[in-house]
Symmetry: C2
Subunit: 203 residues, 2 copies
C-alpha cells in the first residue's frame, strides 16, 4: 500500500563509505551521507535510527568483504595467517573506518564468522580448550592493535623519522630501533609480528 522505500541498507552503507573515503573520519556526518544519497538529512532517519547504526552499517560493509572460508592448503599457521591478512587488507582499503571498526567490532556478524573460522583452525591444530581461548583472543588483540598502529599511529611512517631524531643519550635503543624500522615495510612488520604470535601458539 504505502510508498515504496527508495534506499537499502547496502546503499546507505556504500554512501557512507564513499563519504569516509573522500572526506575522512571527521567528514562522516548525517548531512553528508544524506546528501551523498540524494535525500534530505531527515530522510536518512527513515532508514537508520541514529548515527550509531549508520556507523555499524559501514563497518559491516567493510568487514563483510572478508572471506571467512579458510584457505585450502598449508599448515594451520599459514592458514590462520591468510585469514588475518584478509582482515588487514579489507580494513586497510578504507583507513577512515579504522576508528569506527574499533567501536562496532563486537556487533559484527562478519567478524563472528571470521572468528569461527580461526577458532576452527585452532581446534584442528590440536590446541586445548583453554589455550584456544587465549590464542583466539590474542590473535584478535594483535589484529586490532596492529591495524591501529598502522593507520592511526605516526609511529609508522613519519613517526619513526621523528623518533630517529631523539636524544641518543636518553633513547639509545629507540633511536637504533627507529632507524632500522625505516627499512622494514609495513607488510613485513605485520606478518613478522603475527608469525611471532603464531610461533608462540604452536610451541
Amino acid at each position: 500500500m504505502p510508498r515504496p522505500r527508495s534506499l537499502t541498507p547496502q546503499g546507505i552503507a556504500a554512501a557512507a563509505l564513499a563519504v569516509l573515503d573522500r572526506d575522512g573520519t571527521g567528514g562522516l556526518t548525517m548531512r553528508a551521507v544524506a546528501q551523498e544519497l540524494g535525500v534530505s538529512t531527515m530522510g536518512l532517519y527513515r532508514y537508520v535510527a541514529d548515527r550509531e547504526e549508520l556507523e555499524g552499517l559501514v563497518v559491516e560493509l567493510v568487514l563483510g568483504a572478508v572471506d571467512p572460508v579458510p584457505p585450502a592448503g598449508g599448515s594451520w599457521q599459514e592458514r590462520i595467517a591468510v585469514l588475518v591478512e584478509r582482515v588487514r587488507v579489507a580494513v586497510g582499503a578504507h583507513p577512515a573506518v579504522v576508528p569506527l571498526t574499533m567501536t562496532h567490532r563486537h556487533r559484527s556478524p562478519a567478524i563472528l564468522r571470521w572468528s569461527e573460522s580461526v577458532a576452527g583452525l585452532l581446534t584442528e591444530a590440536g590446541t586445548g580448550p583453554r589455550q584456544r581461548v587465549v590464542a583466539l583472543r590474542g590473535l584478535l588483540a594483535y589484529v586490532i592493535g596492529a591495524i591501529q598502529l598502522e593507520h592511526l599511529g605516526p609511529l609508522a611512517g613519519p613517526g619513526t623519522v621523528a623518533i630517529a631524531g631523539l636524544d641518543p643519550a636518553e633513547f639509545p635503543n629507540m633511536r637504533a630501533t627507529a632507524l632500522e624500522a625505516r627499512t622494514v615495510p609495513p607488510d613485513e612488520e605485520f606478518r613478522g609480528g603475527l608469525a611471532l604470535l603464531l610461533a608462540g601458539i604452536g610451541s
Copy 2:
C-alpha cells in the same frame, strides 16, 4: 607584572580525568572540565589551545603513572611482561581514557620511555636489529589491542555470554570457545596471550 596563573597543566589533567572517571568518555567536554576546575568555559582556553591538547594532557597523566624502569630480577620475558602489565594496570584504572589513549599515544613521552625500556630488554635478550623492530611493534600492537578488547568490547564480559547463545550449527567452535572463555579471568587471558607472543620472540 601580570596576574598570576591559577591553574596548572597537572591540575587541568586531573580535573579532566575526574570528569572522565565520573561521566565516561562522552562526558568529557570543555564545559564540564571548566566547571570541575571552577572556572568558566572560556577560562580554560587560557591554558589549553583546544580540546585536542586537553586530551593529550589526560593521556599523559595516565601514561605517566607507568614506571618505565625495568624490574630487577627474572628472565627478559618476565621483565618485559612486568612492563607490559604496568601499562595495562595504569590504563585499566581509567577505562574511559582508552579511546583517547589510542589517538594520543604517539605524542606521549611516557610511552616513549616505556618503549625505550622494552627495546633495551629486547636488545639484552640478544635479538637482532630487524627482529627487534618486529618484536617491539608486535608487543605494542598486542598491548593496544588487548586493552581495547578488554575495555571496549562486550566480547569480554557480557559478550561471551551472548556468543554462547549462538546457533551451535553455524558457530560450533565459537560457541565452545565462548563457553570456556567464561571461566578464564581477564588477567589470565591477557598474560596468556602475552606469554604466547613472548614465547614466539624467544624462539
